[in-house]
Amino acid sequence: MKKEPIIIAFCCNWCSYAAADLAGISRLQYPGSIRIIRVMCSGMVHPDLVLQALNKGADGVIVVGCHLGECHYLKGNEMALARAEIIADTLEDLGIAAERFQLVWVSSSEPERLVAAFRAMSERLRAGRTPEIEAKEAGQ
């Protein structure tokens, strides 16, 4: 069996990090290979950081911010959204599967949503995404 995909989750301090705490309080369970890195805002995450994570061995990177219009810093998540497009383009250029990066919005009172996003990404990365398949995809 392939081991659990390693996912780096950049969680913003105000919504998603709080939701991750609430997931604990609600005793929701999710895969143990997700590593949360707290950032002040999803807009703080530089595209380089995402690429670095994927290069250094992460199977996936998920950036989690507040819902659009609810950013603690007015428009940080809009910046994150704009950058996500750049990141997606870059991944395509580099031949990295698009599924390995995702941007998600979660409010501080939506731990279920956060956990669902974690699970979904983990399952998506695990389902058949063996290195062989990925290599083949990249070869096309």
Partner: protein, 1028 residues
Amino acid sequence: MSEQAMIGSVLVVGGGISGMQAALDLADSGYFVHLVEKTGAIGGAMPQYNKVFPTNDCAMCIISPKLVECGRHPNIDIMTLTTVIDINGGAGDFTVRVLEHPRYVDSAKCIACGQCSSRCPKSVDDSFNIFMAKRKAIYIKYPQAVPLKYQIDPQACIRLNEPEKCGICAEICPPGAIDFSDRGQERYLRVGAVVMALGFQPFDPGKTRAWGYGLYPNVVTSLQFERFLSPGGPTGGVLVRPSDRQPVQRIAFLQCIGSRDKNRCNNEYCSTVCCMYAIKEAMTVKEACPEVEVTIFYLDMRTPGKEFERYFEQARTERNIRFVRSRIHGVEPKGQKGDLRLHYINAHGRQVEETVDLVVLSVGLETPDAMVRLAEKIGIHMTPDRFASISAFMPVHTSLQGIFTCGAFNGPRDIPQSVIGGSAAAASVAALLNPVRHSLTRSLPPPPEQDVSRQEPRIGVFVCHCGTNIAGVVDVEEVAAYAATLPQVAHVARNLFTCSQDTQDLMVQQIREKRLNRIVVAACTPKTHEPLFRKTLKSAGINEYLIEMANIRNQNAWVHSQEPELATAKAKDLVRMAVAKVSGQTARKPLRISIAPSVLVIGGGVAGMTSALNLAEQGYQVYLIEKTQQLGGNALHLYQTWSGEHVPRFLRELREAVQQHPLIEVCYTSTIVAAGGHVGNFTSLIRTGTNRKRTIDHGAVIIATGAKRYIPEEFEYGKIPKVVASIEFDKLHMHNETRVANGKSFVFIQCVGSRNRQRPYCSKSCCTHSIQSAIKLKKEAPDRRIYILYREIRTYGQRERIYNQAREMGIVFINYEQHGPPRIRKADNNVLVEVWDHVLHRPLEIRADMVILAAAILANPEAVALATMFKLPLNRDGFFEEAHAKLRPVEFHVDGVFVAGLAHYPKPLEESISQALAAAAKAGRLLSRKEIALEPNIALVDPDRCDDCALCLGVCPYQAIKLAEYRDGEGVLRKTVTVDRILCKGCGICQGTCPKRGIDVAGFTTAQLEAQLDAALEAAAPAEEGRP
């Protein structure tokens, strides 16, 4: 009283959560506090609890920071083992006679090493563990006690009873702290005001044999059960039967023991908290052992608080806890093995017998005799239920001016209500003693901070067990051993509760001794506990920002509770990541800016007006924003409180006081259209009725925007004129309109629009409201037939009295279930109401002259816009979500913004007023500081990397980044990127944008994030060759 004669200090009697909150708010608002506690340590009842509802937070974890804060506050003098004998004088100047009982241990000398206790030969039953465990004659109340000083139990001590014997503790005590000659001494305290937070005691079910308590070992009280579940309890958190220490298979909770009972005891009132704590205890059991059968036998499940109904629903549907509506009158033994037999009448009216192996008695709350005597001696009026008599309009004022009251002494209540009460009492004191604010307080300069910038990192890692919250899942020993192997780690320690006072002291000591200059705390979440640890670093003489927390509880032990090995491995990763990040942490100095001494209060209902008036009395300028043309809000529709007080008169007086106060400016027909700034310096744009715009600067905000009423879509409302909502009925009733005047038969239908799938919450005040109306109708004409169709009657607290009164008057209460609501149709001139009668077990048809619908209270839809403007969360039902359901009930995670009244959740008038006072206390506490330290987590430019491309300028949401021109040494005009320290909020959007890594938010620098990333992926296989 002349202002000069007032005393700027306050006596708080009772060191439970309510008293502690009052003490902290007062001490932070400029008053010196004497906190008097009758036992050897503060904390009250909360430290005995395992968890708290409805969040299932660990009780010790959330109270610990407050204990520590009280313990180290320079303006709180904690007097333990002290009782109040008498209070004389009047508002502004009281003389209090207190008796300090002997501790027999010199607190100044005791280092709490515990050698005395380990060698003490005398063991006695431990009252902290409700006599289910032993403690020594020399002891501390509980391991995290504040102050952490040993005390001798004079009843148990051998030496104190036989002067020539024992005395071992005195012989071995390293600092020589034992003093058998200690005598009690009386002291006189002069204070300007008194806060009575006298607390409660659990009902003693041993007073009668009916429940078998004290007769059969497997009958325990809910508090004993709480100790069984607690990691610090007699069984270390493992649930076993007291009789034979065997695992438990079937548990029965019996509700209303010592509450709602005039036969076996004289406690007519409902104790308010027992339904919720029973659900909590049942859930805790089910979480650990899903196969255990748990049944709760109840009269009405009273879960009217915020998020309580969902909790109840979760217990029933997800946790498979069985709820049986039946009062159990007796518990009998069955067989020889300790089993217990219960009889009850089931829903079909049949007598059923059931066998269980553990019975938990959900005991109620009552005021201890000694406290009643004290109140009587001082002259405080009490209710027939033996609680302090308070007006709904002045919910923290006793009958004596200058003496305030809060917590369960005001009637049974839960932790948030007690915390709110503590703050509300503080606000009332602050208004009274405003002229002498800061007259008796002192400020201690923090210890000098050593410069560690040139030192190599020496990291200390503190791994928290959090009772069993972490240690029950994660192998903490392994994590600690692993942490010791990490680079730059100079010291590793493990602690049962890292946030407790003793551990804080230990941390300070170890930081100094081991010359630690970076700290990692592997525990819970920085969102709640980082401020505490920062203060600890400060008192150890290192910069408070040299810390990082590894969240191994909320984001590890709790989310991987079924996979201990995985959780242990992840904990190691998280510690490694934190260590990697903390070594790049730099010392920072907060920026101090002055605070605008004014408050914006949004909403001119009772909550908003109460906050405004209190803050004005505290000497602050208030802008009260009301969107309509008149003050009063929803209370304009109310006629009386549950205890019969006249609302319109109160409202008129409050309105006049607000309108006449020189420091309050009321802005009618006004709304907030934009808000900016931050704690201490907000700027809001309001639009007035004449469509003019105006800018207001203010230091704090109180949101009191109220709620809306539900317009029923069911029960033929709007189609049959004789079917009305309760608010409309009140008006008709008031004017004795013909439908009411001629009516002979009235049917009230409860929970209309509440407690359903769409709105799974209880509107809290409707049961009481309908019963009041019913009583009034019946009093006017005793031959009227009145029916109340209910799902659960929730006359919590002393409101139970009017429920009893209604039944005694012959008002008929008929229970219906959610799946079988009453049916309504028009018949001639009347309305026919059909409902299933659960007592008679047949359908019942009532011909009603009027049907009154107790319609739900809905969140104000305008809350959404305000929430967005001030960056505040709303809960799933649209009400504002406070920072913490238990201990921060009026605050948000956004500093300087507070909430009160219906905007927070449906509640009766007295709770709105309490909460409004509490919000005023918080705003006042903030403004009294005059200046505020801004978080220094702001963007800093690295001049070596920045090439002045200015990409960051455009993305900054606060226009905090500017391109400044300067002339270099040779007089050439150059440009450079600069950051405004006040405008910058530290979001790091610039950091995410900069192509040169030239700008970083302190504490979250790119280098630090990379270090975390590298540490996180250290174990991961490096990218395979050729792998995309």
